[in-house]
Amino acid sequence: MDFSDSPEEAAFRKEARAWLEDNVPSKEEFKGLDEVGQAKLWQKRKYDAGWACISWPKEFGGRGASPIENVIWNTEEAKYELPGAIFSIGQGMAAPTMMMWADDEAKARYLPKLASGEEVWCQLFSEPAGGSDLAALRTKAEKDGDEWVINGQKTWTSGAQYSDYGILVLRTDPSVPKHKGLTYFYIDMKAPGIEIKPIKQISGGANFNEVYFTDMRVSDSQRLGGEGQGWQVALTTLMNERASIGAGGGSVGVDSVFKLAQRVQIDGKPATQNAAVRARLADWYCQESGLKYTSWRALSALSRGETPGPENSIGKLVGASKAQDMASFAIDLQEMAGAIRDPKLSADAAMYQETFMAIPGLRIAGGTDEIMANIIAERVLGLPQDIRVDKGIPFSEIPTGA
């Protein structure tokens, strides 16, 4: 593995850098637009110049760039503060699923608009009774001629309120074992029969929604994969989810906490001189560095044509807990004042307090720590699956505790 650019990579980086320098929107261009508007403006600009979703094939609006080029681009783009999170589910999860399972007509219709940001997608998998047991979903679709009729409730849907389309898995046959009675669809989120309610989190934010379906109708042509093949299709989406969620934890990391520790005193000296503080920071630095180079290694593997494995689960498993502990530690460094959550009064605009309140979600969304550890144990190490009491039992007969 080489940690410096090859001549071709350096040339690509230069090109990307130059384009960004000339094209990143100014504050004035963004003025008056909400988060969605800002994101769409920037995405369209990238699309028009061939810098959107650069690893996608050109026919779908991409650039056919290599994985390494993709990382170089992402690194360079990340040097600016730019909107774009609203596209991550559509481009990161829905698009790969469509590429693998949709027919050519659907691909031609939807993928370019996903790349250009003109259409935003969301994902509707989780349900109240599901949790880690995703396949235990109950929202049902019943066939009625060339259409399906959907009834039930999804939850934890990010961006449902501003999305144009959504991907979802539904129970089409409760009489067969859990994983076998599911079918996968994409739907128009603006169609009748859908009601969206925001879920307020303990951080005070509401990034997720509950989505209720009442006799909502969807054409059979919007089915991805065969009837009863929904779980298989969903796995395509999920493998991409874990790669795209990543470590999280925002800006709380060794860089920020180290700088905070320089400003805070212990025994009359900067906290960075305190051996206990140093030891903690050193351990976290090892984790950050290890995660960074692990993702580079996964990338090298990718560029050698290997498929990235569930090794990516490491990022989420380690990163979320680390961010929680670091936020807690940064709060402690401030002593009593660490409790203050007012951005005007608290260090770094209350970033540590905000992270502390938001992070419990990151240890859960997209698979809990416990599920991640299971994935590593089973799929990487090849250890046996947990004993399954629901195996082979018709879905309708599985114990639920309810």
């Binding site: 212990i266 002593e335 947990d386």
Partner: protein, 360 residues
């Protein structure tokens, strides 16, 4: 007896809805609950009878602290009882005690301790709040219950070094309070600006840090009991959910990952509780071991509550971080209590200081 009584009282008067109302509302505490606590005589527990108190011991107060912690009570009990009242008992002159203790006992006045001046540990070398000729000038932030306190005990410096001062809050523009948002809105906090406020020396001049250390040793045990109570409640909530919630056809509490997580909570809680028993004994008997016992109680209670409160959310999965679930109460309170009288790191350091003293 007292425990059952306290549990019954709080079950009736401090259900989760009371906590939630303060969390979501504009009030800094639940006034109704506070009034009933006063009626129960809890604020008078360890005040001597001669000053209008019940003259009970810290053992009784520990029981109350644990139960208040268990229900995450939104009241200024710790500020008024563990800190302001004890500061007066510790260092007050007879006049000062006669004037204030009966009012603190009856709850006519809420007291608090104004110590912090922003990020970091306050000490004689870095505090800026200054007394001169009986008046005080400077800013304290954050101060728990600043907006509802009638009396504050203030750490400030003067010619003789750091000292504690008694300051009545009702002094017009000389004592200005601004509310401050914290991680745990179920407990009010504020910033106090003293601008030539009348201040009375509490205890000997220049002895502020020594008094504060003594005061915090005592308070550490009582805070630790609140933390242990909260940690226990978080464990119970996690356990309840783990038994009810099914995944893959069986309760999630039947998976070792969850079982061992809850077993770890239980272990941490039990060790912390045992340390707290010792702390309460040292506190109630005035044993020489108090500094060590207090730091031990405090460090283990901080660790237990942080662990229980975050892993309770984790056990709940997605539900755990929704606003409508109560898991957040423990998570917020755990973090607030962990910094409110000095962080884990500060108390680890004090623990070893005390250990060294005992060894020497």
């Amino acid at each position: 007896m007292l425990r059952e009584q306290a549990q019954g009282f709080l079950a009736d008067n401090c259900p989760p809805a009371v906590v939630r109302a303060v969390l979501e509302g504009d009030h800094e505490y639940d006034e109704g609950l506070w009034k009933k606590i006063i009626e129960m005589g809890w604020t008078a527990t360890v005040i001597p009878e001669e000053f209008g108190g019940l003259g009970l011991s810290f053992l009784e107060l520990s029981v109350i602290a644990e139960e208040l912690g268990r229900v995450v009570a939104p009241v200024p009990f710790s500020s008024s009882v563990y800190l302001a009242t004890e500061a007066l008992k510790l260092a007050g002159s007879v006049e000062q005690k006669e004037k204030w203790l009966p009012k603190l006992a009856t709850g006519e006045v809420i007291g608090t301790l104004a110590m912090s001046e922003g990020a970091g540990r306050p000490d004689a070398g870095n505090i800026k709040c200054e007394e001169s000729d009986g008046t005080l000038t400077g800013t304290k932030i954050p101060v728990p219950d600043a907006g509802i306190a009638g009396l504050s005990i203030v750490l400030a410096k003067s010619g003789e070094g750091a000292s504690l001062y008694l300051v009545e809050m009702a002094q017009g523009s000389k004592v200005a309070v601004t509310p401050v948002t914290t991680l745990d809105p179920t407990r009010g906090h504020g910033q106090i600006e003293f601008d030539g406020a009348q201040a009375q020396l509490l205890g000997e001049a220049g002895q502020g840090m020594r008094l504060l250390e003594k005061l915090l040793d005592q308070a550490a045990v009582l805070f630790a009991w609140e933390q242990v109570g909260g940690a226990q409640a978080a464990l119970e909530q996690a356990k309840g959910y783990a038994m009810e919630r099914f995944a893959f056809g069986r309760p999630i509490g039947s998976y070792q990952a969850i079982k061992h997580k809850l077993a770890n909570m239980y272990v941490k809680n039990t060790l912390a509780r045992s340390n707290c028993y010792y702390g309460a004994w040292a506190l109630s008997t005035g044993a020489d071991e108090l500094p060590l016992a207090a730091a031990t109680s405090r460090v283990s209670a901080i660790q237990a509550y942080y662990f229980a409160s975050k892993e309770n959310i984790q056990t709940h999965g997605g539900m755990g971080f929704t606003w409508e679930f109560d898991c957040q109460f423990y998570y917020r309170r755990a973090k607030l209590l962990s910094v409110n009288i000095g962080s884990e790191a500060m108390w680890q350091d004090r623990l070893i200081d005390a250990y060294e003293q005992n060894v020497a």
